[in-house]
């Protein structure tokens, strides 16, 4: 029995990628997603905006649905729609936070709920439930060349933009008052960052679905906090864990015919739970170890 299990896993872990082009494409898509989502998730966590990622992933839905209505199951149409919808919600939420007394998290919550309800309505009125399932949960095993180019393009763009705005973004997180005192620019950086969040969620939703895309972003980022102490380390750890989750999820999904999106996110969840226990930076076990204190 255990021998059979081992063979199945081994086949899935090594053989499947050699035998099937769709598995190779899915793996490359996971790598691209990991590289883009890693830094985005890390800064969402650092800005205490972990739940904004979740809100945004819901906000994308009506755009994707409208894209689906106009263009059918066409990735460019759905992605563009999702991007526009996500950006609109981000802009509106930011605007409301500045012009009224509502805080940004409250206005985000309001707009994403409106957006989500609208999305579900559009899809159920005009499509079958199968289509809705596709939009909500994605299918990384059906990633074609167009999708791969899109995901890779978004992740390349993300890396370049982060390289450019790294310093102001760090300062905007850590000491926004300083940035304002030095002549401002924080608002633009914040918007640029939100645009990257939306872009990477759009990249993820083809592969993982709108509901799961945020998992690839937030779980590795939260996990990284338990392994690294400074921002570059956090980003590196988040990228590696996101990719390993992608790989592990694909293997499990191939071996037992599981839906790939949830499998990938659950793998990331496993990494998170293990890190909670053994993570060297504030994990449970390292804290419990009976170690004597230092001299100074």
């Amino acid at each position: 029995m255990s021998g059979e299990l081992w063979t199945t896993l081994q086949d899935a872990a090594v053989g499947s990628f050699g035998d099937y082009a769709f598995m190779r494409r899915a793996l490359v898509a996971c790598l691209a997603l990991a590289i883009g989502c890693g830094p985005v998730g890390v800064f969402l966590v650092l800005r205490r905006m972990s739940l904004v990622g979740d809100a945004m992933s819901h906000a994308i839905l009506p755009g994707a649905a409208i894209g689906f209505l106009l263009g059918g199951l066409s990735l460019p149409a759905m992605s563009l729609g999702g991007f526009v919808a996500g950006l609109l919600v981000a802009l509106l939420a930011g605007l409301v936070a500045r012009m009224t007394r509502l805080r940004e998290d409250a206005s985000f919550a309001a707009f994403y709920l409106i957006s989500l309800a609208l999305g579900v309505l559009i899809v159920t009125l005009h499509g079958s439930t199968v289509d809705l399932m596709h939009v909500l949960f994605g299918t990384i095993l059906a990633v074609d060349d167009t999708a791969l180019l899109l995901v890779a393009g978004i992740s390349s763009l993300t890396v370049c933009v982060f390289a450019l705005m790294y310093r102001p973004l760090v300062v905007e997180c850590f000491d926004p008052g300083f940035l304002r005192a030095q002549g401002g620019g924080g608002g633009v950086i914040h918007l640029l960052f939100l645009a990257l969040v939306v872009l990477n969620l759009v990249a993820g939703f083809q592969a993982l679905g709108t509901l799961m895309a945020v998992g690839m972003m937030m779980l590795p980022a939260a996990t990284a906090r338990l392994w690294a102490r400074q921002v570059p380390g956090l980003i590196a750890v988040a990228m590696v864990i996101a990719f390993l989750s992608g790989y592990g999820g694909l293997v499990l999904s191939f071996a037992w015919n599981l839906p790939s999106g949830p499998a990938i996110v659950l793998m990331a969840g496993v990494f998170y739970l293990i890190s909670l226990l053994v993570g060297p930076v504030g994990g449970v076990l390292p804290r419990l170890l009976p170690r004597s204190h230092l001299e100074a």
Binding site: L164, P176, G177
Partner: protein
């Protein structure tokens, strides 16, 4: 550099929030190279005045005049609460931000700048702390780091908002020495303070503020019993139903 700074002149300045004045019709000059304490009860508009000078608040009335100097060139240290203390950043990186006016968002910090940052850390008594995470520092050490950043900004005007709050005697003494050094270098230093003994001992000039100017001049002449009582008597005058303020403009404004 500091010789070219003309001083800071406030003319009939009103600053506030949502049309309610927190600083009301203030006129006077912070002379170039002066060391001034701003003193007054809570809610007197001290922090508001610093923010206004720094250009972080819209001016409701009057003028702030500091010649050709842009407000972004003035060094400003706000009250401690405004920094995210557990952000994963190293002490050296925080201090290097003091070069912002030179390197901005995109340019690289040179080796010389790093050396200057290390020297600044040494000057605030934190040599060897370069690679430590900010989160691992005590309140006093964090304030030393922020002072090192101000040191690096090399600005002709330094605005400090309650810089010695929650600091122990030794840290306060060290940072006060730094303030004295800035004064000696001819920089204009303005600090919001609460400890009157400290003000009398170290700050030659004082602005006693209670929304309006109660006194402004040499410290000994400004911090008199009567003036302090008068400042204390100022209620927090914010009122939902306050009527419009109509005061005749200052004489010299009419003339000019």
């Amino acid at each position: 550099m500091s010789s070219a700074f003309p001083g800071l002149r406030l003319t009939d300045l009103t600053l506030g929030y949502d049309r309610h004045p927190a600083v009301h019709h203030v006129s006077g000059t912070f002379e170039a190279g002066s060391l001034t304490a701003i003193v007054g009860p809570n809610g007197a508009g001290k922090s508001t005045l610093l923010k206004g000078i720094k250009g972080l608040l819209p001016v409701l009335g009057g003028r702030i005049d500091c010649g050709a100097w842009a407000s972004s060139a003035l060094a400003y240290l706000p009250q401690q609460a405004e920094v995210e203390h557990d952000f994963p950043i190293s002490v050296l990186d925080v201090v290097l931000l003091g070069h912002w006016q030179t390197i901005g968002m995109f340019r690289a910090a040179t080796r010389a700048m790093r050396q200057q940052a290390e020297d600044a850390l040494a000057a605030v008594g934190l040599a060897g702390f370069e690679r430590r995470p900010l989160a691992a520092l005590s309140v006093g050490q964090r304030q030393r780091v922020l002072f090192a950043r101000v040191l690096l900004q090399d600005s002709p005007v330094i605005l400090l908002d309650e810089p010695f709050n929650a600091l122990d005697a030794r840290t306060t003494a060290d940072l006060l020495a730094l303030v004295q050094r800035w004064h000696g270098e001819g920089r204009t230093v303005i600090a919001v303070l609460h400890d009157l003994e400290q003000v009398r001992q170290y700050f030659p000039r004082t602005l006693l503020l209670a929304r309006e100017v109660i006194g402004w001049g040499a410290t000994a002449e400004t911090l008199t019993r009567e003036a302090l009582l008068r400042a204390r008597a100022m209620g927090e005058a914010w009122s939902e139903t306050a009527s419009l303020c109509v005061r005749p403009p200052l004489a010299d404004e009419v003339a000019g």
